[in-house]
Amino acid sequence: MTAFEVNGRKVDLEVDPRESLLAVLQDRLHLYGTKKGCDHGQCGACTVHLDGRRVVSCLTLASQVEGREVRTIEGVAGEDGTLHPLQRAFIDNDAMQCGYCTPGQIMSGLACIAEGHTGDDDEIREYMSGNLCRCGAYVGIVAAIRQVAGPAEA
């Protein structure tokens, strides 16, 4: 059995040794907010936080998260449904179209802000470059992260 926490809830599961964290989130826990885009760690749609750091869940072995804390997009808004300011900012800046990459963008954006990589817009771009958006909503994504991170450093 593999025991870990997802969004503050304890989970105890029998997982296949080859199963990715992404597969467990989707197929076992029915947390479909984390998206599968490439199976390769090359699109970022499956980004989640593991012990507070962003990782791609498609390349994270489920068995390896034993005893650790996983946070997914479903754990970002408040219990009462209050949006996190970054979620709000994505809506305000229309930082999405189809929205398939959006959960990964938000998980990555939260980490980008927490890591302090928001000094200027190019720094945001460098540290958001692991999340593809095929609709090309990049302009809005930078603006949304900027809105939450505060003004750029001079």
Binding site: I73, C135, Y138
Partner: protein, 753 residues
């Protein structure tokens, strides 16, 4: 997904920056994409695909797959209940390969099993005996070599569309020629093909799927299942991007066949690699152009041969050829035109719809030619375009007169007058070509500026009966008037759900202004009439028109009721009378086929212009490019929703950037070499520059609200603008996109021009 928002007419109506109602679900991860659907008793589908681009099938043994525990069904072409072929315009594509395969990745057999991995393993266990044969992979040879094996049913020609205008003189004062090539681009939506088919009690099936056009799916699926259309009911599941790739069927018939056979729900989700084989791509093109002009740079003639590789099946190739031909000289006035556009069958991957649809390829070539002509005439690239620009009243290559504003010259002047970004003496690696991979600290970096102009037909052309249907219902829910808008139009991220609600608020403002009106856009499904495709930049126009028409009809009914019951307010009227519901079809003005010999005819509904300026820094030693800024001017007639519109221009520009600099499905001998996001590269956020936009609103009187379709034009003009900027920086001819690093770094020392 029901989308509801509240508010009054004026601040949430047409023209307002209303936030997308699906945004809340999308930022919380609750928006249900087709890949997220789940039923407790569902089975998983998998597809066995051909490893060969061309082969006879001598035998198929499904025994080993059927014997595997957990496998519920293994089906081949023999199990197709109805017609064995489907297709958008022409039914030439087998549901499952019969006696032969014509491209690598063609579906041969399908499996349903209780676990996705079991299904995949069972598919791999099917034994197919192939007899490989020569693959036809050169489209020119396919078309012009009589000895070439035949791929298509009647040969290798999908369509030849000539355009003949005036008399092309043997020469002109200034003549420039060029051969151009466009690689095979992939739509690369992030949410791969997926859907869930559920068998119904009436012997039919319900399919929840991500698609661009529910009814054309239904029209193709039902005959293959041998069912009447009313027993094949489709509902739109969340769509993870489309860009043309969901116009053709992928897993639809397969999922339904397996669901009907097993009596269980069946879900398909393609992986990324399979997705590269699961949908059509943008046609690769080889183009020869000759432009003749006066010394002053006025075009005298254009000759062109455009060869589009359609791959193994027809898909929408005929319409793509039509666009390439009718838009083949671009938005320029030319008296003498001689174009031959061809679509070819080959054993390469099938090609069909992708944003820009035939116009993208031609645009890259004719804009490259305009730059060559400018140089030959000693003119500025903006000036040569201004001198030849169409305007309202101009004739297109087809003879069609542009009958709504087309202020191209003014758009170009405005673009050229926009301030240029500062030079890159920044020490920051992120501002340099190569980024933090640190290939330069400024060495070899040269700045270039380039311009591109695109013209795109909006809506379906060439006589297609193109319409949409909307049902609008007003009723009291509780004590509040409530507006329900129902269409089958596919929201693929473009913001159509937002716009439908905005139109309802504007048209039914008398209800909305009561301050209580709720507008709900019902989930799209086939219980209402067809909305047509979410393609050709047409939904705001056609479905927008249908929603408006239905709202107007409801408004008129309410007015009549009010006349009968003077003194009653809207709520009281509804209470007294009950719900008011109207359904309307909306058709844009009719179009006409192109003459098969001359290409003449009023084939298009509406034409839309976009112009781009690209500023790039090129490391000419390594061939790496940083796009510093993109600026665009687009005339959209009427802005329905500013942020959604800007998003379309950003997104179209990003995909054009990808085609210019990095995106190509590499095919060798009919085989795809790079079916992954490791090697098929699409722009990251660091590749996409800031954009400067100017959006014009010169209304088209024929269109609802005067709007002009907006999603595709920026995809056209960004590619040649970036290519031109790279040429300006490098001094190289660069007759091919995507421009690869070696094309710059290893170019012969003396530039080709």
């Amino acid at each position: 997904m029901t989308q509801t928002a509240r508010g009054t007419g004026s601040d949430l109506g047409v023209g307002a920056g209303v936030p997308r109602p699906d945004g809340l679900l999308k930022v919380t991860g609750e928006f249900a994409y087709s890949s997220d659907l789940y039923l407790a008793d569902m089975l998983w589908g998998a597809t066995l695909r051909s490893p060969h681009p061309s082969a006879w099938i001598r035998a198929v043994d499904v025994g080993p797959a059927l014997a595997m525990p957990g496998v519920h069904a293994v089906l081949t072409h023999e199990d197709v209940p109805g017609e064995r072929f489907y297709g958008l315009e022409h039914k030439d594509q087998p549901v499952l390969a019969i006696d032969q395969v014509r491209y690598q990745g063609e579906p041969v057999a399908i499996v349903a099993a209780d676990h996705p991995e079991t299904a995949r393993r069972a598919a791999d266990a099917i034994v197919v005996t192939y007899e490989p044969r020569e693959a036809v992979t050169d489209p020119r040879r396919a078309l012009f070599d009589p000895g070439c094996p035949k791929v298509g049913p009647e040969g290798n020609l999908v369509r030849h569309q000539p355009v003949r205008v005036g008399t092309v003189p043997p020469t002109a004062e200034v003549v420039v020629t060029g051969e151009y090539e466009v690689g095979m681009q992939d739509q690369a939506f992030l949410g791969p093909e997926s859907g869930l088919a559920v068998p119904a009690e009436d012997g039919g099936v319900e399919l929840f799927v991500a698609t661009q056009w529910l009814h054309v799916d239904q029209d193709q699926i039902a005959p293959c299942l041998g069912l009447p259309k009313d027993k094949v009911r489709l509902a739109l599941a969340g769509v993870g991007g489309a860009f043309g790739a969901r116009e053709d069927l992928s897993m639809q018939v397969h999922a339904c066949m397996l669901a009907l056979r097993t009596g269980r729900p069946v879900k398909f989700v393609y992986g990324r690699e399979e997705s590269f084989f699961g949908h059509v791509h943008r046609h690769p093109a080889r183009m020869r152009y000759e432009h003749g002009a006066t010394r002053e740079g006025r075009l005298v003639y254009v000759k062109a041969e455009i060869v589009l590789d359609g791959g193994a099946y027809r898909s929408s190739s005929p319409a793509v050829v039509g666009n390439a031909a009718s838009l083949g000289v671009g938005p320029y006035e030319v008296d003498n035109i001689h174009i031959d556009a061809y679509g070819a069958y080959t054993n390469n991957p099938p090609c069909g719809a992708m944003r820009g649809f035939g116009a993208v390829q031609a645009c890259y070539a004719y804009e490259s030619q305009m730059d060559r002509l400018a140089e030959a005439c000693g003119l500025d690239p903006v000036e040569i375009r201004v001198r030849n620009a169409v305007s309202q009243g101009s004739r297109m290559a087809t003879g069609q007169v542009i009958d709504s504003p087309a202020p191209l010259a003014g758009m170009l002047r405005e673009l050229a007058a926009m301030p240029l970004p500062g030079s890159s003496c920044s020490p920051d690696l992120r501002a340099l070509p190569g980024g933090v991979a640190q290939t330069t600290h400024g060495e070899g970096v040269r700045r270039g500026v380039g311009y591109g102009v695109g013209i795109k037909n909006i809506c379906f052309s060439e006589g297609f009966d193109d319409y949409s249907t909307a049902r609008v219902r007003v009723e009291l829910l509780g004590d509040e008037p409530h507006i329900l808008v129902h269409t089958a139009a596919a929201e693929v991220g473009q913001g159509l759900v937002t716009v439908q609600a905005q139109i309802a608020r504007t048209e039914l403002a008398e209800l909305a202004d009561l301050g209580a009106a709720r507008v709900t856009v019902a989930p799209a499904d086939t219980s209402v009439g067809s909305a047509g495709s979410s393609s050709a930049s047409r939904q705001s126009y056609v479905t927008g028109g249908a929603v408006r028409a239905a709202c107007v009809a409801v408004r008129e009914r309410l007015a009549a009721l009010r006349a009968e019951h003077p003194g009653l307010g809207p709520a009281e009227l509804l209470r007294a009378h009950g719900p008011v519901e109207e359904t309307r079809e909306y058709r844009h003005r009719p179009t006409h086929p192109m003459d098969p010999l001359t290409g003449q005819g009023d084939s298009h509904v509406q034409l839309a212009l976009c112009v781009h300026r690209a500023v790039v820094d090129v490391d000419v030693d390594l061939g790496l490019v940083k796009v510093v800024e993109l600026a665009a001017v687009q005339d959209v007639g009427k802005i329905l929703n500013p942020p959604a519109l800007e998003g379309q221009i950003h997104g179209g520009s990003a995909q054009g950037l990808g085609l210019a600099l990095m995106e190509e499905i590499q095919v060798r001998d009919g085989r795809v070499l790079n079916p992954s996001f490791t090697d098929y590269l699409i722009p990251t956020i660091l590749d996409m520059p800031p954009m400067r936009l100017s959006i014009l609103e010169n209304p088209d009187p024929a269109a609802p609200y005067g709007l002009r379709g907006a999603g595709e034009p920026p995809t056209l003009s960004s590619t040649p603008a970036i290519a031109a900027a790279v040429r300006a920086a490098s001094g190289l001819a660069l007759p091919r996109v995507p421009i690869r690093p070696q094309d710059i770094a290893l170019a012969p020392a003396a530039p080709a021009r």
